[in-house]
């Protein structure tokens, strides 16, 4: 693969445009026919995924796809730029999205407001893909806000008081995050005179103003990502959202924050300045705290989705840590962990959703016997939990390995220790669930829907996405070429090119 050939192509724009068009289509047709709506819905996400995957041919050829729109409006130019990093995360996002879409057809069958959910679901995809494919900070910020505000509709979907409460918090965080990112963007523009993300390091020199911008970026994205002191919205928002939405929120949307931090650190400031100034150390420390804190907090949660949400926080800690280590292998692990965590956490949330639909169980303590009732679902859950803990050959292991290597490269073995501790804590809060589900008999009175002991799996349309996701945890790692890892390494190398 050769890096650096830029090809002008409208395909990235198309990728973002398709979901928007399908949002409109879903919105128009959902009154007409239930079935038609579903087909349009699925085909929209599928088409997006297909086009996204098609971009892979170019990326694997080493080309960087660039598309500029509204050039005259500089600096408000909408630029898409697909390099390996963008492609990798975006294609995972699109894939997870497609699966979540298939899943939610069944999940939201008896929902109270499907007419809101389905368009928003597609529209948020546009936002997320726009963020991942953006070629300059303006585009990034634009789609970041679009995605964030449509994510609000995920959070408050249930329209319960808790949902609104969580929604308010989410909204607050979104606005704060938005304006902080805005601050960073505008200071960047002021300092650099450009917003282009194509080069490595556009900020000319390190001074107090650029530090302020950096901090603003970090805090802004940290809000979104759930960095330790800024994470409070996350455990509130994830449980109240519908499960596919939680899967997307946790799997994809919070990754935009991490993605943004990577972009800012490596593309806006550049590795040299970061290494010279050592600013990312702040991030590193907070990331470590986040890792430990998330795991510790997850231990004491009884609500399943809440536990998963805290787990997400802890995993975000890994990701940010990988970015902040400023080593190539650490970055590769970071990028790969974005991918792997996206799949793992989506799996976990989708299974949690499946469990909730079928049994109504929301708490870990009630989960006894679920394994027997829903073996496939619980199997997928187990697989994902193991991946999260970091059992080889699951992809969680691969990313953690790479991260640990990165930490060692950076000469900071302490962070590898943090990884280890966190992994152990992961085991401590995931394995009990599995054990409970498989080896404990349900107590009397906890039966919510039907017989807990009878085999009663969810419908295939929900099960298939879960299984595909679970499979993807393994499949890439047992193939001869671990394609995501290769791509991650490649993009990490690209970001380290001087």
């Amino acid at each position: 693969m050769v890096q650096g050939v830029e090809t002008y192509s409208h395909l990235p724009g198309l990728v973002v445009l398709i979901p928007i068009i399908f949002t409109a289509l879903v919105g128009i047709f959902q009154k007409k026919s239930f079935l038609l709506r579903n087909w349009i819905f699925i085909s929209g996400t599928a088409l997006t995924f297909a086009v996204m995957a098609f971009l892979g041919f170019f990326v694997l050829r080493g080309e960087t796809l660039v598309a500029n729109y509204l050039v005259a409006m500089y600096p408000f130019t909408i630029t898409f730029r697909v390099d390996t990093l963008s492609f990798l995360i975006a294609v995972v996002a699109a894939g997870v999205w497609l699966l979540a879409s298939i899943y939610c057809l069944q999940y939201l069958k008896d929902d109270h407001a499907p007419n809101r959910y389905f368009p928003v679901h597609v529209f948020t995809l546009a936002g997320a893909l726009g963020v991942f494919l953006s070629g300059n900070l303006y585009t990034f910020f634009l789609f970041y806000e679009v995605m964030a505000f449509s994510g609000y509709l995920f959070v408050i979907h249930a329209e319960t008081p808790e949902a609104f409460k969580a929604g308010s918090r989410y909204l607050m965080v979104t606005i704060l995050s938005g304006i902080l990112v805005f601050t960073g963007v505008i200071i960047t523009y002021q300092l650099a005179g450009t917003l282009d993300l194509g080069s490595l390091g556009i900020i000319p020199d390190a001074n107090i103003v650029s530090l302020i911008a950096f901090v603003a970026f970090i805090i802004g994205f940290g809000f979104k990502a759930g960095l330790f002191p800024l994470h409070t919205w996350l455990p509130a928002a994830h449980p109240v959202a519908p499960s596919p939405a939680s899967a997307l929120l946790s799997g994809i949307l919070i990754k935009t924050g991490a993605y943004g931090i990577i972009r800012v650190t490596y593309n806006v400031y550049g590795i040299e300045m970061m290494q010279d100034t050592g600013w990312p150390t702040i991030l590193l420390i907070f990331a470590a705290i986040t890792t430990i804190y998330g795991s510790m907090a997850a231990l004491v949660q009884d609500n399943l989705k809440r536990r998963l949400a805290y787990s997400s926080i802890s995993q975000i800690g890994y990701i940010l840590m990988g970015g902040a280590l400023l080593t190539e292998r650490g970055l590769a692990g970071d990028i790969f962990h974005i991918v792997s965590h996206a799949t793992i956490k989506s799996t976990l949330f989708l299974t949690a959703g499946a469990i909730i639909t079928k049994t109504g169980i929301k708490y870990v303590s009630q989960m006894a016997g679920v394994g027997r009732k829903m073996p496939y679902t619980m199997g997928a859950f187990t697989l994902a939990a193991l991946a999260m803990i970091g059992i080889p050959p699951l992809n969680g292991f691969v990313s953690k390995w790479a991260l640990a290597l990165g930490a060692l490269d950076a000469g900071q073995p302490g962070y590898a220790v943090v990884l280890l501790i966190s992994s152990m804590l992961n085991a401590l809060y995931y394995l009990p669930i599995v054990i409970l589900a498989y080896f404990r008999k349900p107590e009397e009175g906890t039966v919510l829907y039907g017989d807990m002991l009878r085999y009663d799996e969810v419908r295939a349309s929900m099960l298939v996405p879960i299984l595909i996701l679970a499979l993807s945890l393994v499949i890439f790692n047992i193939l001869p070429v671990n394609l995501p890892l290769v791509l991650a390494e490649f993009s990490a190398r690209a970001l380290f090119q001087h």
Binding site: L70, M73, F182
Partner: protein
Amino acid sequence: MIYQLPVLIVVQLLLGSFIMPIVGRFKNQLIPYISLFLMGLSHVFSIILLFRVVQEGNIHYHLGNWAPPWGIEIVADLLGAYMAVIVTGIGFLVLVFAWRHIQREINYALRGWFYTLVLLIAGAMVGMVITNDLFNMYVMVEIVSLCGPALVAIRNNRLAVEAGFKYLIMIALGSGPILFGIALIYMITGHLNMTFAGQEVINAIQEYPRVALLAQAFFIVGFGVKAALFPLHVWLPDAYSYAPSPSSALLAGLAAKVYIVGLTRVLFNLYGIEMLSTTPLFTILKIMAVAGIIMGSIMALNQKDIKRLVAYSSVAQIGYIFLGLSLVTGFSVTGAVLHILNHALIKSMMFLCCGVIIYQKKTSNIDELGGVGKEFPITMICFGIGAFAMVGIPMLNGFISKWYISLGALEYGGLAGLMYLLVIILSSLLNGLYYLPVLIKAFLGGDSQKETQIDKAPITLILPIVILAAGIIILGLLPFVPLQIASDAAQHLLGQ
């Protein structure tokens, strides 16, 4: 003929208002159509004028063929032509809106006067933005000032009359300082034409520095009262919230902006960039603008009435414009000029949305607006677009101007610049905090089972809102033309 355009726009609007009582004697029903026609015509003229100005530079028009220092000169420059387009365009949309809406808020015996006053105020606003003569500007300011309270009090209930009276008193208190400032400028320069006076002021400042400073202070205070600069805004919430919605849209969207343009012209044309960037008054102005941005937002937070909320948000937005102007950098002035347009669009649209809500629900209390979004999705979506534009979401026009003002703050440099940036950012947050609950309540509150339906309001109510919302989006996506004009106008103002 095209050479006569600048004055024709003004005169035809004024003439239109003069003939209204005569039309009313013979055929009442013609009044809306005539005013719509005239407003539309002047919009077309303004656009032609703008094109002309863009192509060929400023149009200097000498009233009565008297050369400038002796006669009155109209200079249709970019800023003026641009404002004329805004004024007539939004005025047209407001008139379209009012055509069916005023039956809710104005006694039918007074509706003809509403059209008369709208034409008057529009004519005076256009006349004010394109004039190059200090005293002529004062006269036009006074017409606007007189029509404003009348448009508030036309609702003829106790609250509206009280608000109108407060508005009138404050505005009259403001016109005194303006005239005094003109007198002082005349005293030290001997000219009323801004170009000539500006040339003289450079010399006069050496000899009479304090007089020049005092004149500046008077201009700022006078126009500040009229444009509701923060500590002088006391009339604003009542006036905007008790006025009929089309009036509110007109006053908040246009009148306040026009005053700001007047102040801009006076200050920048007379004093020149060097003095302005060093004058202590601009520091005070900056502080006032910042206070306005923060306090306006904070006061908007706990409003129960949707029009009042939007009105308080005006205070904050006007603070933005003043901040942009007082920073006196290329970007910030561009941003301020741009924000004049953007805020005009947004605020007019939001008040018109409030008008639709009042038309449909006969209430403007936020607590009673649960689920309005489901009942009138188009209106509330437009309202949401406006709110998001205020917050500064990209792709909406509010972002662009906010961007430029922030850039200006950074360009201003130093810790102060960062502080202004912080204020702008903080205010975005506050904007979000007070607008989003309304939207959430409108779309998600109330009876969730209510079936979504198309707005029942007449098309003439929906259409202006939709056009304005489309304008917000289009100007957010493609801000090229206004941006170019604004930056050229800013360059012109800054004398570069």
